[in-house]
């Protein structure tokens, strides 16, 4: 099939076929990453701008490597959080980048929907690198890629996402991707961090981690934001870790060959007990290297398909 999109904004709007196409393309991109000369000319002459309104060394580096392996010219533009509400508007900033020749803009922004605003108003291709509490498509795609690589298939798997679902863009994108590819999705966390009406989109909600983990094939642990403990969402990190931290005895309730994933960086002893973090370490590193392949695939498809003509 052809990929007819100019932007990749989120997994909610992608079809199962489109997601599969990205994952399949990522497999050939992964092969590129294993060569001695890790470079193909797919984006030669294309200027890609990484427009980051949140500090994120990992995601930005992963995008940058992906861009460079495709021979793109890369422009990094990192703005502080405070410049969002003061000074130049997002649209004005992005238009400036277009004027500098950028035809693909990768945007990370603390507010949900910011990439949609750019997609509506600009000529460039927009890649969402995480918007507010909304979507983080490249992270979910690399999670799907990693799961598929380990399990062979996504369909029919039982996948549990644990933690702050309310504020998590990783959770939302993963939920859409997993549901579309035929997995059963569960979420678990304190009721204050489970968003309203999530059961409407075919997700099972658990407040008790033991119940949630029973029989699951994959557990995706979300990083807990330290600042949440000072708000009224839960009493303390200690209590959070006690009820929603993944420990060995709880994990025993899962399927025998359960895979534990984490988008990183891990708070050891909080989301994951240290021994599980060590065991899961290899998968988590796989996620990181798969991230480059998946992002290369996203650029490749956007540039060659609906394209930036």
């Amino acid at each position: 099939m052809d990929f007819n999109r100019r932007h990749i904004l989120g997994l909610e709007e992608l079809s199962a076929e489109e997601i599969t196409l990205i994952l399949d393309t990522a497999e050939s991109m992964k092969e590129v990453s294993k060569r001695d000369v890790k470079k193909v000319p797919a984006l030669r002459g294309v200027t890609v701008c990484n427009l980051f309104y949140e500090p994120s060394t990992r995601t930005r580096s992963s995008f940058e490597i992906a861009e460079k392996r495709l021979s793109a010219d890369v422009l990094n533009f990192t703005l502080s959080h405070s410049s969002v509400s003061k000074g130049e508007t997002l649209l004005d900033t992005a238009r400036n980048l277009e004027a500098m020749g950028a035809s693909v803009i990768v945007i990370r922004h603390p507010m949900s929907g910011a990439p949609w605003l750019l997609a509506k108003e600009l000529d460039s291709s927009i890649i969402n690198a995480g918007d507010g509490s909304h979507e983080h498509p490249s992270q979910a795609l690399l999670d799907l890629f990693t799961i598929r690589e380990i399990k062979g298939n996504i369909e029919g798997l039982k996948v549990l996402v644990v933690g702050d679902i309310l504020h998590s863009r990783v959770a939302r994108s993963n939920i859409w991707g997993l549901l579309k590819l035929g997995a059963e999705v569960r979420v678990a966390g304190p009721p204050t961090l489970i968003p309203s009406h999530i059961e409407n989109i075919n997700v099972k909600t658990y407040y008790n981690l033991e119940d949630a983990v029973k029989g699951v094939d994959v557990v995706i642990m979300l990083r807990i934001q330290m600042e949440r403990q000072d708000s009224e969402f839960f009493p303390s990190l200690r209590e959070y870790a006690r009820f929603y931290g993944l420990k060995r005895e709880k994990l025993k309730l899962a399927a025998k060959d359960v895979v534990v994933m984490h988008p990183g960086p891990i708070n050891r002893g909080i989301e994951l007990s240290s021994d599980i973090a060590d065991d899961a370490g290899s998968v988590i590193l796989d996620q990181v290297s798969n991230g480059i392949a998946v992002r290369m695939a996203m650029f490749y498809l956007v540039a060659s398909g609906g394209g930036n003509s």
Binding site: L91, M111, E121, S196, I201
Partner: protein, 427 residues
Amino acid sequence: MSILIKGGRIIDPSQDIDKVTNVLIEDGTIKSFPRSATKYEKDRKTQVINARGKIVSPGFVDIHVHLREPGFEHKETIKTGCDSAAAGGFTTIVCMPNTNPVNDNASVTEYILLKARTEGKVNVFPIGAITKGEKGESLAQIGEMYEAGCVGVSDDGMPVMNSKVMRHAMEYVKAFDIPVISHAEDKNLSGSGVMNEGEMSTRLGLEGIPCASEDVMVSRDINVAELTGAHLHICHVSSEASVRLIRAAKKRGVRVTAEVTPHHFTLTDKAVDSYDTNAKMNPPLRGEADMKACIEGLKDGTLDVIATDHAPHSEDEKKVEFNLAPFGIVGLETALPLSLKLVEDKVLTLNQVISKLTDAPSAILKLNRGTLKKGAPADVVIFDPKKKVKIDRETFHSKSKNTPFHGWELKGEINYTIVNGKVVYSA
């Protein structure tokens, strides 16, 4: 100069009139309903307006408008707001006090009225603030604002969170017999929410404002109105439970009235999809059941009036990240066609819709407008309820174009708007 409106269908709910006849306007007031037009057609001093096939009703009254002046003239001025009202068939508008400076003392009230008199095409009645600076702490100069011309008090946009302050406000206004107009919202419960809390907010990853943040305040305000005996008017009702609370309160005789906006009885939070900032308002667009409850409330009289909550914002202010965009949409120039949809959907009769836009709002604030009684100021609108219209924001008379209804095909065209016997708008 006199005007004869010839051959229209006169609908005036204030007098229970619905018949085809002529209306004679003289010296700025309604003179009579003459049977024959012939005599006036020959009189060169009389302007004859042919209204055959059209509806002739009292000019509409909108008791919830933001005119933005003083302070936010880039969004709207008293002049442009009045122009917008006239184009929408409104002859009387009531403006909210959240200007800069806030209308919390008589000098601001006088400024607004002076501007309206000299630059405005339609009648303007101001609402004063309940508390100084709309801070919710101490009472504004309510008596002096009343003397200067304010017809009610409200901290619209900023709820009075302190129940004791609300109690004192409701007690105090009894001396002037004006209503306390409540923007019912528990700000703590709303948090930094930007849309309705529900499946859509979960999908979009936006912080939600639950219906409960409206409901708890509607409930509190009804209780305080019961305690004090004051007239409480609830702004822009949006939730099913609030409609239920108001219905029950009315039943047991509490002095409570309520309004609903066209957008709350027309749209749901699905309109926020793809982050349309023109679907961002407060209270937010709610779910399907809430929208239906608002319609039901209009039908059974729980919601007394249609008011637009006309809230102009410039294009630059709205063309930003959803979280950063201000709440509110313009409403004066889309109110009639959206309200007429209720007639087409057989929710209300045409006469009921007109009543909710004329005598009912006038009665809530004792404006003595919204009627074609003999001797009343000649505020009249002539419109064609069947004429197809396509909403085009570029044709708006308002300074701002922030509407979610751009491109909608509806019915209902304003032909003439007459204020105090003067034609202020004609299509």
